[in-house]
Every structure is written in C-alpha cells, then in structure tokens.
C-alpha cells in the first residue's frame, strides 16, 4: 500500500500533446476516478502510471520509490483492461496464477491466493474453463481477480465496465466498490461515465484536452464546479447555462432577471449556471414565468424543457401529471444554488463562501 504522486507528468506524441503537466497525489487507499470525454488523455495518464507508456517529462512516485523509469512489472501495480485482455488459451486458474508464477511465487501460496480471489469474485466453478466459455461479466471478474491476486500497491482500471450492458454495469460497479472496501488498496479508475465516477470515487479528476480541469470529491465537483466545462459535464440532466451580464445585484439575460446572493465579486459578461433540479416551482407572481415546451416523464420526476425570459432551460421537479406544452408556470432561482462563471475565461466566480 502506498501513496502515488504525479509531478508535472506530461505526454507528447510527436508534436501532439496528449497530457499536459498533471500534478496529483493519490492517497493510500483512495479511490480516484479520471473522468472526461473521449480523447482527453485519461488512458494515457493511467498508462503512464502503469509504465505502459513512457512519460515525456515529469516524475511518478509510488510510495517512496521514483518509478518513472521502471518497467510495469517493477512498479507493483495491477491493471484491468477495457477488453479484459485475458489469455485466451489459458484456463481461468492459469490466467489468475500467471502473474504470480512469473514472479516465481511458491505454488502453494499461489493456490491459496487464486482460490481466495475466486471465492471473493464467485469464480470457483469456472477455474477450469477457458475465457471464451465465460460471459462478459464473468470475464470482467476474472480480469479483476487477476489484479487482486497480485496484492499490488495500486489497481489501475481503464474503462473496465464499458463493454458490459447497462444492467450488468451497475452490478459490477457495486462489486468494484465492495472490493475496494474489502481490500482497501488504492484504485485509479478511468471512465467517461459521470455516474460511475460520482458513485465510485473518493475524488474525481476531471480532464479535458490533456488538462486537469478540477480535482475534488464527487459532491464538491457537483456543488462547486471550477469552470464551465465541469459545470456542463457533471450532473444529469445537464446544468442550465445562461449567458448574460451583471447589473447591480442582479444577473440579466434578455428579459430574465435573477437576484444574486449578496457579496458577489463579479461584473460585466458572465454565465449563470443553475441545475435543472435546483429550479424550484412556485407561483408566477413569486417567481419567473416559465413556458413549458417539452415534457419528459421519468417516473418519479418530471423533466421539462421550456423558456423563461426568452432563455431556454430545463427544470427537473417531482412528478407533475398535469402539465401540457404551452402552459406557463412559475419558477424560482434559489440564490444559494446559483453558479457564476466569467464569460471570457469560463472560470468559476464565487457566489458564496463555501
């Protein structure tokens, strides 16, 4: 078990920079998720930690060791690949045992570890089979087991659930969370799925175009996104982002005027952010008139696309059966739930002291 430190880790392929200097400390036992759209450099960063990709510059430490120049096998890491990467001609038992055998471990100890991992993952009945005789979920478990038996300093997982169907994905997500609780080893997990990130992570590292956008606990990133990109990326349905300007103590966009909390240090052109679930229903007299356009019933909740003050936005409220398109309702913008971003830089402007 160990802390992992990335210092100014950078990766360039020829002239193309895939990862710009990343600084990150992963605490011992922490579950860190790299989250971002496809091509943002998540896998590259993970593979540099694994040693599968050389760093262009920067330092990687695991515990007290500088592992920057070490081969993957000498870093005491274990990796789970998106396509499982099970050895197709070896039995499940041999797949699990392979890494230990290559390390010349005592066969009796190997057997103990393989059996233990198989028990934890419910693979005991499949040990004599070949990978192609297993289902996707079972193969995923074997891939996890192969990492588990190694008892590494850190688990590295690159989109491990993206080949599974939605239902299985949820179940395996829970299993990975349980596994992390049971073994307590640090995990670094790559995904483009924000729900996976929110549910699994102790901390999320949000990336875009090779740059880290924000590092924080799931609710921290949800409550206080550092910039417009994070604001739009985290949360479902997406945050409403409205371009406008500051006029006195108010935000103004077209016919829409929203009162800001006192003490906002902003002026000029800004973007106002409010999550659909934070727009509150009220009377038209009390709030702003919102014209309903499209209604999506989600079951427990109702998602509605419409307009307020000429600005398009979405609201998510407890189920309403009675709405119909064209009708007008009142919505309120709770001051504590507002996010402000400078329009020029996209950076967050603090609206309230945290």
């Amino acid at each position: 078990m160990a802390e992992i430190r990335l210092e100014q880790v950078r990766k360039a392929y020829g002239g193309v920079v895939a990862v710009h200097g990343v600084d990150l400390t992963i605490r011992d036992g922490e579950f860190v998720v790299f989250l971002g759209p496809s091509g943002c450099g998540k896998s590259t960063t993970l593979r540099m930690i694994a040693g599968l990709e050389e760093v262009t510059s920067g330092t990687i430490r695991i515990g007290a060791r500088d592992v920057t120049e070490l081969e993957p096998k000498d870093r005491n890491i274990a990796m789970v690949f998106q396509n499982y990467a099970l050895y197709p001609h070896k039995t499940i038992y041999d797949n699990l045992a392979f890494g230990l055998r290559m390390r010349k471990m005592d066969p009796a100890e190997i057997d103990v570890r393989v059996k233990k991992a198989a028990r934890m993952l419910g693979l005991e009945d499949f040990l004599a089979r070949k990978p192609k005789q297993l289902s996707g979920g079972q193969m995923q478990r074997v891939a996890l087991g192969r990492a588990l038996v190694r008892e590494p300093d850190v688990f590295l997982l690159d989109e491990p659930l993206s080949n599974l169907d939605a239902k299985l994905r949820v179940r395996m997500r829970e299993e990975i969370a349980r596994l992390h609780q049971d073994v307590g080893t640090s995990m670094v997990y790559v995904t483009h799925d924000q729900v996976e990130a929110m549910t699994l992570a102790n901390r999320i590292v949000i990336m875009r175009d090779g740059h880290v956008q924000q590092i924080g606990a799931p609710l921290e990133v949800y409550d206080r996104p550092a910039n417009l990109f994070v604001a739009g990326f985290i949360g479902s349905p997406e945050m409403n982002l409205i371009e406008g300007r500051i006029e006195g103590a108010d935000f103004v966009a077209g016919n829409l005027r929203v009162a800001l909390p006192p003490g906002v240090q902003a002026s000029g052109e800004v973007v106002l952010g409010i999550r659909p679930e934070h727009l509150a229903l009220t009377t038209e007299a009390d709030g702003v008139a919102f014209t309903v356009r499209v209604i999506e019933q989600l079951g427990a909740q109702t998602l509605c696309v419409g307009e307020a003050g000429g600005e398009r936005m979405r609201i998510l409220v407890d189920r309403v059966d009675s709405w119909s398109p064209g009708q007008s309702v009142g919505v309120r913008f709770p001051a504590a739930k507002l996010h402000l971003f400078a329009k020029s830089s996209g950076q967050r402007v603090e609206t309230a002291k945290p």
């Binding site: 990796m79 990467a85 099970l86 197709p88 001609h89 392979f98």
Partner: protein, 286 residues
C-alpha cells in the same frame, strides 16, 4: 423454388467439372498402376500388383521417399522459423514498414523458372556472384550440384527463399489479430519478451501454424518443378523425391505402370500422413 434450382445448377456444374478434371484423371492414373504399359498408345497389359511389388522392392523408391521427407521437413522448418521471425519484425513499427512489407512478398511472385535460373547464375562455377564471394573469402569452392549434400541443401535453400514470403504473410496476418492489450497485460504480469512470445504469440499463432505447416508439407512433399529444374533429382538420385521418380519411370524409363504405382503410393502415404496430422493437431482448438 428458382433459387433452389440455381443452387442445384451450380452444384451440378461444379461436380461435373470436378469429376471430369480431377476425379476421372486420378482414377485413370490409379488404374494405370495395375497395367504394364510402355507408352500411352500401346495396348496395356493387366499385371495386378506386380508394379507395386517391383516398385517397393527397388531401393530407389525408399531413397526417394527419404529424400522427399528430408526435403519437405528441411524446407518447412526453415520456412516456418524464418516466416515467424520476419513476421515479428514486419509487425513492429518502423519507418517504411509498408514498403518493406510489399517488397517482402516479391519472391513469391516470381516464376519458378526465373528463380532457378537466377540461382544457377549466382552459383555458376565461372561467373557466379556466390562463387566469387566464396573465392574472395578464401574458402574452397562449393560444388552446388555435384555433391549430394550440397545439392539437397540448394533445393532446400531455393525453396525456403521462394516460399518464406508466403509463410511470413500468413503469420503477419495472424499477428495483427492479436490484441495489443494481451502483451500489455503480460508486461504487467512480469514477463520477459521471450516469455511473451511463448505464452502469447505462439499460442495465438497455433491455428495458422497448423494450417500453414500442413499446406507447405503437402506442397513440398509433392514438389516437382524446383527439384527438376535445379538438379533433375541428381546427382545420382541424391535429390530425387517420389514425384521425380514417378515422372522418370513414366516418361524416361517407359514404365508408365510403375510411375503410376509410385504416384499412387505417394498419394496414399500423404493421405495417411494428413489424417494423422489432423488427429494430432485438431484444427478446432479447445
């Protein structure tokens, strides 16, 4: 209905062509082996198994069988080893890889006659570039076609040169289907490059290896043109295989029945060998 008729139509044509061009001549050839016949125009005389008895009693048959086996085995081993080696190299990323990949198939495209003539020029006792090189290195001259060992070696050498590209291409295609992540997983698991070859590459190549070895074995065992053009089976039968022996009987010794008997035995031996091969290395893995 009409689509069914079409299928039967094609099937019938296919069967008819096969029957006319393959089965009928084969049956005819086998039947010849039971007759004594000194030309294709004379009247054949039924002799039963006499041709077989004569052939099997002649030492030249056993020598040809052994020669054929040595030639087939030798050329296959080198083709496969070199083929895997070249495929591994061509599978790596390096500048100009596509050009080299294209060029490497060239030997396979050259007509056999051209290859053999070129080789003969290269080792020509007076002007050959190989001869000159051997001379320049101060080594004794090699009698490529006069000494039995050297003659066998040159038939194998030329065959390996001609067909390694085919084997390379087969293996290269197979290598490209191996997921890169398997190698990465194995690197994390602590393997050396050599261990990765034996634990991943070779098992992944096994299905294609099985087929390639089988195909090459059949082709090499029946090889006629290369040996005939290079050595005519000489010196004194040192490179003569069953195909050449059969031809020599039928067309040089006016023993068509004997030639046919040799061809039939060769065919039978090969069939048995292929069956055993499939039994030992089933194509269906797992």
């Amino acid at each position: 209905m009409s689509s069914k008729a079409t299928i039967y139509g094609f099937l019938f044509v296919g069967l008819a062509v096969t029957l006319a061009l393959i089965v009928a001549p084969a049956v005819y050839a086998v039947s010849l082996s039971f007759y004594q016949m000194d030309s294709f125009v004379g009247a054949p005389k039924w002799v039963g198994f006499a041709n077989y008895v004569a052939v099997l009693q002649a030492p030249e048959f056993w020598r040809a069988l052994l020669n054929g086996a040595i030639y087939a085995l030798g050329s296959i081993v080198f083709q496969v080893i070199l083929g895997i080696g070249f495929a591994l190299v061509l599978n790596e990323a390096f500048p100009g890889r596509n050009l080299v990949r294209g060029l490497s198939i060239l030997p396979y495209l050259l007509p056999t006659v051209v290859v053999i003539l070129t080789f003969k020029w290269m080792v020509d006792g007076g002007i050959g570039i190989v001869t000159k090189a051997v001379e320049a290195m101060g080594l004794p001259p090699i009698n490529w076609f006069e000494s039995p060992g050297a003659a066998m070696a040159s038939t194998i050498l030329v065959s390996v040169w001609m067909w390694t590209p085919f084997v390379t291409t087969c293996f290269l295609a197979a290598l490209q289907t191996v997921p890169q992540s398997l190698y990465e997983a194995a690197r994390v698991d602590g393997t050396t490059a050599v261990q990765r070859f034996f634990h991943i590459t070779l098992p992944m190549l096994k299905p294609i290896l099985t087929v390639v070895v089988l195909l090459r074995a059949i082709w090499m065992f029946n090889k006629f043109d290369v040996i005939w053009l290079l050595t005519r089976g000489g010196p004194v039968g040192a490179t003569e295989n069953l195909a050449i022996l059969s031809y020599r009987h039928a067309f040089n010794l006016f023993d068509i029945g004997g030639g046919a008997a040799i061809a039939t035995i060769s065919f039978a031996l090969l069939s048995v060998a292929v069956l055993i091969y499939f039994w030992v290395f089933p194509l269906e893995d797992d």
